[in-house]
């Protein structure tokens, strides 16, 4: 089991390193991640939502549905814990 997991770990790691070779350089301000969608948020956050903290405006407004899902995730976890650890009335 230990060797198997070690092998699978190393395969996964090697694959990821192979994949990272073609990535844009670290901290490159002109990488696609920084130029395609995100400038829109930075430019329009104040105009659209009057919120200087762009993270908040993206979190709760532009991608509000994600955050709804996230609250639901937390709610699910809470209900799950209650379902699992609820005191049983009768054995």
């Amino acid at each position: 089991m230990k060797t198997l997991s070690l092998i699978s770990t190393i395969i996964a790691g090697a694959f990821l390193i192979y994949g990272s070779m073609d990535m844009p350089h670290w901290g490159d301000p002109y990488s696609p991640a920084s130029t395609h969608v995100s400038p829109y948020y930075l430019r329009n956050s104040l105009k659209d939502t009057a919120t200087p903290n762009v993270v908040t405006s993206v979190l709760a407004d532009y991608r509000g549905y994600d955050t709804l899902g996230e609250t639901t995730v937390i709610f699910t976890a809470g209900m799950g814990c209650l379902l699992l650890l609820k005191k049983r009335r009768k054995k």
Binding site: D22, D61, L82
Partner: protein, 496 residues
């Protein structure tokens, strides 16, 4: 814009899930009613959306009023329209069915159960309807978390099985997230359609290759593709019967749907067929899954566990069908998603009824069941025939398409595996039918046991009607499969 029903499909179960604990604190039984109402409304909404999609074409819905690459977008096309109807309908039927089982197995915890049930369905529907890669991850996690909790409350040994599922499932979800990260860093977008457009120039990038590998591995864990299926049999065998009847048919199918969506709508068909030998790998993975699942199923003495291994084999059908990469095989695979969900739901509801009456799901306890519960067992026979692939039932048609496609693609081992698996399914189910039908006459002990033993012990109506309904649906889908294929699936096929 209340006329826009696509958003209501997800939102109604979600809001009801939040309402259920409040309602349930007042009276426990109300949570059941809340669940049924919400799922009925959601089913109606999804049917309406499907009809709209079929008449008007793909529906787009930008949440929060933002244009798609910036906000999150819901997309309903014929493929996920069909899946939405399927999931919400199965969810509704299983919800109606679940009441007695929950009352018996989870006394005093009904409110939490139904809350999680609704959240589970919400997660499924959210996965299906979204057009955003990260949003898919969020809803995948909702579905997974609800699934963990629902499975872990099962019979003895369920927590350990569930823990294994949690570990594997988290690895799967994280691999998916990692793949999305690799896509994001090379394209800068998360919207599926947008990523598809941006992907065109990036086909030779190593980043994209890694992203594909990790997303597919993650989804393969979630759908229990053969070597990664180890969590599935334990988890689904030990889950409460209502939970397994909901999760077992749908979770694997939804992962396969996500795989179709990622491969065809995000990465694009040319990447899939031309640049990588991905379709070969998938055919062989399907082959391995069918063989492995069928062989393991033969070795089981437990009914539910046997069904779980059959489920593993069925995943192989669909993955192999996708990997064959011709229109007929993919049509067969998509039709098989629909058929398999319905058939598996039928089988697991039958298992739940037997669990409810006999307090066991070992094969040995099936003796004389045909006399005790004739309706249940006839529903079971319909499901079994469909699993084997006998013509009037729906299982036949998808298998026909799959075999036809495999022959066209000249993948003879896969054809052999499909046929062999049908044969093994036949053996498996006839063994069950034999135990249930033949033994009651052959063993004299039972005739002596007299009236008490052979009395009718038919399941309560609230469990029986959904089960028989599923059996009827199997036959109806079989009769109308041409219509389904012509009006829905042919629009869902990728342009090959």
């Amino acid at each position: 814009m209340l006329g826009e029903t696509s958003i209501l499909i997800v939102i109604i179960p979600l809001i009801s899930a939040a309402l259920t604990p409040l309602v349930g604190l007042a009276r426990e039984g109300l949570s059941y009613l809340c669940t049924i109402t919400a799922l009925t409304l959601s089913t109606l909404a999804s049917v309406h959306t499907l009809f709209r999609v079929l008449t008007e074409g793909t529906v787009h819905y930008g949440l929060g009023g933002w244009p798609p690459p910036f906000g999150i977008e819901l997309v309903v096309d014929p493929l996920n329209g069909m899946m939405l109807v399927l999931v919400s309908a199965v969810g509704l039927i299983v919800a109606v069915y679940s009441y007695r089982g929950v009352e018996q197995e989870l006394t005093g915890r009904m409110v939490y159960f139904y809350t999680l049930y609704l959240l589970q369905v919400t997660g499924f529907l959210g996965i299906l309807i979204t057009g955003d890669l990260f949003n898919l991850y969020v809803f995948l996690e909702i579905a997974s978390l609800a699934g963990y909790a629902l499975i872990a409350v099962g019979e003895d040994g369920a927590p350990m099985a569930c823990f294994r599922y949690i570990v594997m499932g988290t690895v799967g979800a994280c691999f998916y997230l990692l793949g999305v990260g690799y896509i994001y860093i090379s394209t800068g977008s998360l919207n599926m359609a947008d990523v598809h457009l941006l992907m065109k120039g990036l086909y030779d990038s190593k980043v994209i290759a890694t992203a594909i590998a990790f997303i597919l591995t993650g989804l393969a864990i979630k759908m229990a593709l053969f070597p990664l299926h180890v969590w599935l049999p334990d988890a689904y065998t030990k889950a409460p019967s209502a939970a397994s009847a909901l999760i077992a048919p749908l979770m694997t199918k939804i992962s396969i749907y996500v795989m179709i969506r990622i491969l065809f709508s995000v990465f694009g068909i040319s990447l899939f067929v031309e640049l990588f030998p991905l379709n070969r790998i998938m055919v062989w993975a399907g082959f391995a899954a069918i063989c492995g699942g069928a062989v393991m199923a033969l070795a089981q003495t437990d009914f539910k566990r046997m069904l779980c291994y059959i489920l593993v084999a069925e995943v192989g059908y669909m993955i192999g069908g996708l990997g064959l990469a011709n229109a007929i095989a993919i049509r067969g695979a998509i039709l098989h998603i629909l058929n398999d969900a319905v058939m598996t739901a039928g089988l697991f509801t039958v298992a739940g009824i037997i669990m409810h009456r006999m307090k066991s799901h070992r094969l040995a306890d099936f003796e004389g069941l045909f006399q005790k519960m004739p309706f249940t067992m006839s529903a079971f026979v319909v499901c079994a025939l469909s699993m084997i692939g006998v013509p009037p039932t729906c299982g036949f048609f998808s298998k026909w398409y799959l075999i036809h496609g495999a022959i066209l693609a000249r993948q003879w081992p896969f054809v052999a595996a499909l046929l062999g698996s049908s044969l093994i399914n036949g053996i498996l189910f006839f063994r069950v039918i034999e135990v249930g039908y033949v033994f009651q006459f052959s063993t004299p002990a039972h005739t002596h046991a007299g009236e008490g033993m052979n009395r009718m012990e038919e399941a309560p109506l609230s469990m029986l009607i959904p089960t028989v309904g599923i059996a009827v649906a199997i036959i109806l889908i079989g009769f109308y499969n041409q219509a389904i294929v012509k009006h829905i699936i042919d629009f869902a096929l990728p342009k090959l």
